[in-house]
């Protein structure tokens, strides 16, 4: 007979493996796509970022888990984790970018409401407000930063490129770090920061990128992240700072949300631009759909 705590640990392992594998491309895709690092080195860089972020700051997300799912039991924790894993797998299968952070927060809130648990409404409101504000801030920040960078005329082209590449490696690590601290931290916090769950999460953060990132890395590295070094830098910088600030306040924030918004901001800063409105609206719709789907399933179950 499977114990509930075993289900929680399995849920933690699965969620961490899936999100760390699927989001590796968002963290290190630019560095790999631009040939700054090899795929193997990039994967190791991402894994190191996840693990350091989770261990150094992940526990700060326990406050978020407590606020969104008070008096959590093994039953509610495993339910929230498996709902999130199911939504995430559905998103991958349907090729819709559904954020794990957002669906997890939605599921936690849904379970709390259904179980008449004392959900911290003020905190929930802060999270939703952050989700509205973060993409706007990411767009504005990348737009402004890129405009400033555009005026910069490098005296030495090759020195500039060398600095860009070094910064890109550092920022790739820190993007993975913030994902480890925020998203992975929240997942582990749902199941409690026990030595077993931490060990499982660390193992999953290593295994996930090895088994679930190959196709994404190839596609994202070459196609999606065919950005200029300056664009990539500005996008990663804005995203990393926003997620890190959110982590300091224990607010769950999706890296992919801030990255997508940042890429949009960098794109609109060009004088001549071609804008794929369909892709953009699919991404924006997924930001609304993911938490609502998690909330609805949490409420029903």
């Amino acid at each position: 007979m499977v114990q509930l705590w075993e289900l929680v640990s399995a849920g933690v392992f699965l969620a961490v493996a899936l999100v760390s594998g699927n989001n590796l491309s968002a963290c290190v895709g630019t560095a790999i796509g631009s040939g700054v690092v090899s795929r193997r080195f990039g994967t190791a860089l991402g894994v190191a970022g996840y693990v350091v972020g989770l261990l150094a700051q992940g526990s700060s997300m326990a406050a978020a888990a407590q606020a969104l799912l008070p008096h959590q039991s093994d039953f509610t924790a495993s339910a929230a984790l498996f709902i999130t894993v199911a939504i995430f797998i559905f998103g991958i299968a349907a090729r819709v970018p559904l954020s794990l952070t957002m669906s997890l927060v939605g599921a936690l809130a849904g379970i709390s409401v259904a179980g008449r648990l004392p959900l911290n409404h003020a905190f929930a409101l802060t999270v939703v407000t952050t989700w509205f504000l973060a993409p706007v801030l990411a767009i504005v920040a990348t737009f402004m930063l890129f405009r400033v960078l555009s005026t910069f005329k490098p005296k030495d082209v090759w020195l500039t490129v060398r600095i860009y590449k070094a910064l890109l490696i550092g920022l790739s690590f820190f993007t993975a770090y913030t994902l480890g601290a925020n998203t992975l931290g929240l997942v582990v916090a749902i199941g409690a920061f026990s030595p077993l769950n931490i060990s499982l999460a660390v193992s999953a953060a290593v295994i996930g990128p090895i088994y679930f990132s190959r196709a994404q890395l190839r596609r994202v590295g070459r196609d999606f992240f065919s950005l200029r070094y300056s664009n990539a830098l500005v996008t990663l910088l804005a995203s990393t700072v926003l997620v890190e600030v959110a982590t300091l306040f224990a607010i769950p924030l999706s890296n992919t949300q801030t990255l997508s918004a940042g890429i949009f901001g960098a794109g609109v800063s060009y004088r001549h631009k071609y804008f794929s409105s369909r892709s953009f609206f699919v991404v924006v719709a997924s930001w609304v759909a993911a938490p609502l789907l998690g909330f609805a399933i949490g409420l029903i179950l």
Partner: protein, 233 residues
């Protein structure tokens, strides 16, 4: 022993990390440009001294240069695909390599044409009517030599300002070449009734090919600007 191996690996990784794929590719393209300069110099000799011996010696030199350029082109394309290069400039770098290779290819085509024409009993395709055309071709070769020297400077330059300046100069040279080509064709059509049709074809072909060489120089200078701007701003 093991520590030594790790040390070597770390040294290799750091060296690799510091490498700039785009700069290395520019250095490789420079090799082709230098071959193009040599081929261009051979063509000048062939035009200056169109005797059988000179033509054959220079033609053989250009053939070897063209072969070497092809080998370098093949090698660079492999390096570009596997190097530390931003994916959004891959196509531009490949186009740059192709344009540089096309200059040497065109030089070889011209050298064969000069050599082939010398085999006919038409005074190497020359007569008193074509003197002006020879001067036009020599001027175009001189312009190509200037443009190639500018490309050499551009490919080794660190400064964006300098690269932009050189691009303007190459563009001006290309325009000058266009004018010489047009004037050459005007002259060629004017003397058409007086020359053998093979002579007509010969000069028409040379004017086109010399213009292609200058066009390729302009394309390369444009691509250098696009690439350096794209990666540094």
């Amino acid at each position: 022993m093991r520590l030594h191996a790790y040390g070597k690996l770390l040294k290799f990784k750091i060296k690799n990390f510091l490498a700039i794929g785009e700069k290395e590719t520019f250095a490789e393209i420079l090799e082709i440009i230098r071959l193009a300069e040599k081929a261009n110099a051979s063509l000048s000799k062939m035009l200056e001294k169109p005797d059988r011996e000179t033509l054959e010696i220079e033609n053989e030199d250009v053939r070897l240069l063209e072969k070497k350029a092809d080998e370098i082109t093949f090698r660079i394309k492999g390096d570009i695909e596997n190097g530390a290069i931003s994916s959004n400039i891959l196509d531009n770098l490949l186009a740059c390599v192709d344009a540089a290779d096309s200059i040497v290819d065109n030089c070889y085509y011209v050298s064969r044409e000069l050599n082939r024409m010398a085999g006919l009993r038409l005074d190497g395709g020359r007569s008193e009517h074509t003197v002006g055309l020879d001067a036009s071709l020599t001027k175009m070769l001189k312009l190509a030599a200037d443009a190639l020297a500018m490309l050499e400077t551009s490919l080794t330059s660190d400064g964006l300002e300098k690269i932009l300046e050189l691009r303007t100069d190459v563009q001006r040279i290309e325009e000058e070449g266009d004018n010489i080509k047009d004037a050459g064709f005007d002259k060629l059509y004017a003397i058409a009734p007086l020359v053998h049709y093979l002579q007509f074809m010969h000069f028409s072909e040379l004017l086109h090919k010399f213009d292609d060489i200058l066009d390729a120089c302009e394309d390369i200078s444009d691509l250098i600007v696009t690439i350096t701007t794209s990666i540094s701003r």
